[in-house]
């Protein structure tokens, strides 16, 4: 059958222009979607409180992408301490999360997924009596835990099998979790299969995971294929910088060396109080910074 592959005579119905909200078939989780954003929101507590909380999430989400787009140029520019501050609330979360890292190259976009999760979570729980809640933005999640509560977060590595689980208790500082790696939806300068970070906010975890994943690298290694970010996505905030396109076979020693480089960055961030824990995975090997309970020991396969 000579069926066409990608097919459509013209741009499809621009459903992405409208924020969409729908309960997932389990009747418990709210799916919020607009353009590139997909959030899954779940709240725990009395039924009426849950309903009200999800309504608040939906209301906050509706204008959110529009606010970001209005300042997109600024948010895509490399962050300097003296750069003009954005006016949007989510943009402000992005900038605040990235500022501690502004010594090196970073744009506020490095925290966008986490900042969106933080913002919608804040709206979800505001004024509500909930025991727990989370907003999961494609793997970058913001958590709410009432005193005494705990939540187990499954940590998915992009290549799958070996994601561990992190147990986060109300007494822990961590309220955000994020994962980055070159296989993910965002570009990376590094070669980590996955770097999962727990931090006080999802935005903070997001930017830290991005930068730690960038540092898991073997500069100049011939098995690593790189190319300008702009060729992949013309308006990438990374411009002409070379991003990782493919990683060929690495020796055990090479993988260890790359992980060591990333771990050093993670430990520095932990010492500065920017992150609580991190788990770095490359070629089936894992390094953990911080409490293994938080970073989640990765499953070992025989």
């Amino acid at each position: 059958m000579a069926a066409p592959g990608l097919t459509s005579a013209r741009p499809p119905a621009p459903s992405g222009w409208e924020a969409q909200a729908a309960m997932l078939p389990d009747g418990r989780r709210l799916h919020l979607h607009q353009g590139p954003i997909d959030l899954v929101v779940e709240a725990f507590g009395p039924e009426a409180e849950i309903r009200a909380a999800l309504a608040q999430a939906e209301a906050r989400f509706a204008p959110l992408l529009g606010e970001l787009v209005a300042e997109l140029a600024l948010l895509r520019a490399p962050l300097a301490a003296d750069a003009p501050a954005p006016s949007g609330v989510v943009a402000g979360r992005m900038r605040a999360a990235c500022l501690p890292h502004a010594g090196g190259f970073v744009t506020p976009m490095a925290a966008v997924a986490g900042a969106v999760a933080d913002e919608v979570l804040a709206a979800t729980v505001a004024g509500r009596r909930l025991t727990r809640a989370y907003v999961n933005n494609g793997g970058d999640a913001a958590l709410f835990l009432a005193p005494g509560q705990a939540l187990t977060v499954a940590l998915g590595a992009p290549d799958g099998i070996g994601g561990g689980r992190a147990l986060i208790r109300a007494g822990d500082a961590a309220r955000g979790v994020a994962t980055s790696g070159w296989r993910g939806r965002s570009f990376s300068f590094g070669i980590a299969d996955a770097v999962t970070v727990l931090a006080c906010s999802a935005a903070g975890a997001d930017v830290a995971a991005t930068l730690i994943a960038n540092a898991v690298d073997l500069p100049g290694h011939p098995a690593i294929r790189r190319g300008p970010a702009r060729d992949e996505a013309p308006d990438s905030d990374l411009g002409d910088r070379a991003v990782t396109l493919d990683v060929g076979p690495l020796t055990a020693a090479e993988a260890e060396a790359a992980l060591d480089a990333g771990l050093a960055v993670a430990e520095t961030m932990r010492a500065r109080g920017l992150i609580e824990a991190a788990a770095l995975t490359l070629a089936g090997r894992t390094r953990v910074a911080g409490d293994p309970r938080l970073a989640g020991p990765r499953e070992k396969r025989p």
Binding site: G5, P12, A13, G16, G35, G160, I161, R225, R230, R301
Partner: protein
């Protein structure tokens, strides 16, 4: 250096602006936007994962009615030739929920229900049929992609070498990278992409569904007409009188016309030829050489190396004319015995050109065939009915038809629902993956509404076709139609070809 830096000359990138959402991404040719949902395909923004509707009214390959919600005119009762496929349907996990689309439609008076899903196959693989005589590797040799073991060489079939790739042991039983590479390999093959495979102790072969295999850099063009013995049987009469002896060189069964039954029956005289190798029956020899990439799939570049001394007592004589030819006719040599009964190369007589080329003309083009094999057992069935084993029984009884994006599948007899589908019967890029790792394939179960009710189906979730087209599903309303021409799609009849 990694060739990555900004100094590398930039190729110009055709980019267009997507207006599907407020982000208004610029999207480069062949890439997706920030959402991974919309892509630039040939200068147009397209949705990557629309629900695909097969429409027998459309000519195969012709464009496609977008069937978007906005355009649906609400006309009732779309005709029975329209069939909602699992492609782009989205999936549900865990599977106790109803499948993403349970669609009812009227077909020839009987109300049918199609349960449509994109099934996640942790147990799946591909069977590859590679038309070649060349030796790709020993049976059971490991097949690798990107250095990882993804399958093995299995039986050699008539004119083809079979490989078996994937399966749960490679997908989830090995190291993580092995699983990922296996998944990528299966996905690429099922989506009709070219994949380079290396076989331990054997060849490197590039395989793509519907295309000739490339063995160690050489494109295989012809499939053998038959084994050496069969070639003798087919063409012995055409050689008679033009050559005194004909040997068809074949790694499996080399044929010798003067000894072969086909020669005997037409009174072919003995020649005193002696073939190295193991004689099976008269005129049929096994193992004349080692497997290889030369003549007839053996490691033979000079065919004379398989010949022993000529015996004058059994008919060898100076001037005897010998034709040696491979099973595809691509290689051939003509020789005349000298005074010492040693074959000397000579130009092929004009009269033999026809009989040699007829071998080649009778060869079919060499192709690669990719059959997807998956087990639709397990929890997936629960998306169809609350009583999963009834679905299995219904499929086995022929009451429920299983299709893969509308393409016919072959269901293995015995337990479970183990199906095979030719990936060329499916629309392009029908397969996806999840990082489990596992393949995602569209899958439809079609049965009568009564039967569906009888097995405890999710009756409350049934929606008419027009409603699905108008409103879409959980994961969006975009649909696409692809032509389902005669012999394709749900209206397909056996026999499948010809």
């Amino acid at each position: 250096m990694d060739g990555t830096d900004a100094n590398t000359p930039r190729k110009s990138v055709e980019k267009i602006r997507c207006d599907a959402c407020p982000v208004m991404c610029y999207v480069a040719e062949g890439k997706t936007g920030a959402c991974d949902r919309y892509a630039n395909a040939g200068g147009r923004i397209v949705r990557c994962d629309p629900l695909t509707v097969l429409d027998a009214a459309l000519e195969a390959g012709e464009a496609v009615t977008p069937f978007l919600g906005a355009d649906w005119d609400g006309a009732p009762a779309p005709d029975e030739r329209r069939f909602v496929t699992g492609l782009g349907a989205g999936t549900t996990y865990p599977d106790y929920k109803p499948a993403p689309f349970i669609v009812s439609r009227e077909v020839e008076g009987a109300e049918l229900v199609t349960v449509v899903t994109e099934a996640i196959f942790s147990y799946c693989g591909v069977k590859l049929k590679i038309d070649t005589d060349r030796h790709l590797g020993d049976e059971t040799a490991m097949v690798r992609a990107d250095g990882e073991t993804v399958g093995h060489v299995t039986t050699a079939e008539y004119g083809s070498q079979m490989l078996s790739l994937g399966g749960v042991r490679h997908l989830t039983g090995g190291e993580k990278r092995e699983g990922r590479v296996t998944c990528e390999t299966l996905l690429a093959l099922c989506n009709r992409e070219a994949v380079e495979l290396t076989i331990d102790g054997g060849a490197t072969v590039t395989v793509q569904a519907g295309r000739p295999p490339i063995v160690d850099g050489q494109v295989e063009s012809k499939m053998r007409v038959g084994c050496g013995s069969a070639t003798i049987g087919m063409f012995a009469t055409q050689w008679q009188g033009l050559a005194d002896e004909v040997v068809v060189v074949d790694d499996h069964i080399t044929g010798v016309v003067s000894e072969h039954q086909a020669g005997k029956e037409i009174g072919w005289p003995d020649t005193g030829i002696r073939i190295k190798g193991r004689r099976s029956t008269p005129g049929r020899y096994f193992r004349v050489a080692e497997p290889g990439k030369g003549w007839g799939g053996a490691d033979i570049d000079d065919p004379l190396q398989i010949l022993g001394e000529w015996n004058p007592k059994k008919g060898a004589r100076p001037g005897l004319r010998l034709l040696m030819v491979s099973t595809t006719g691509e290689q051939h040599g003509f020789y005349v015995l000298d005074e010492d009964l040693v074959p000397r190369p000579a130009p092929l007589p004009e009269a033999l050109r026809g009989p040699v080329s007829v071998i080649e003309e009778n060869c079919e083009p060499a192709l690669c065939t990719v059959l997807f094999v998956g087990g639709a057992g397990g929890s997936l069935r629960a998306g169809v009915t609350g009583n999963p084993v009834r679905l299995t029984r219904s499929v086995q009884a022929g009451e429920t038809r299983v299709t893969c994006a509308g393409a016919p599948v072959w269901i293995w007899p015995g337990g479970g629902i183990t199906l095979m589908a030719d990936v060329l019967d499916l629309p392009e890029r029908a397969f996806g993956y999840v990082p489990t790792p596992a393949l995602v394939a569209p899958l439809e179960f079609t049965l009568s509404r009564d039967a569906y009710a009888g097995m405890g189906g999710h009756l409350g979730a049934i929606r008419p076709v027009e409603d699905v087209l108008a409103r879409g599903g959980e994961y969006g309303a975009a649909t696409r139609g692809v032509g389902a021409g005669p012999g394709h799609g749900p209206g397909m009849r056996w026999p499948r070809r010809g």
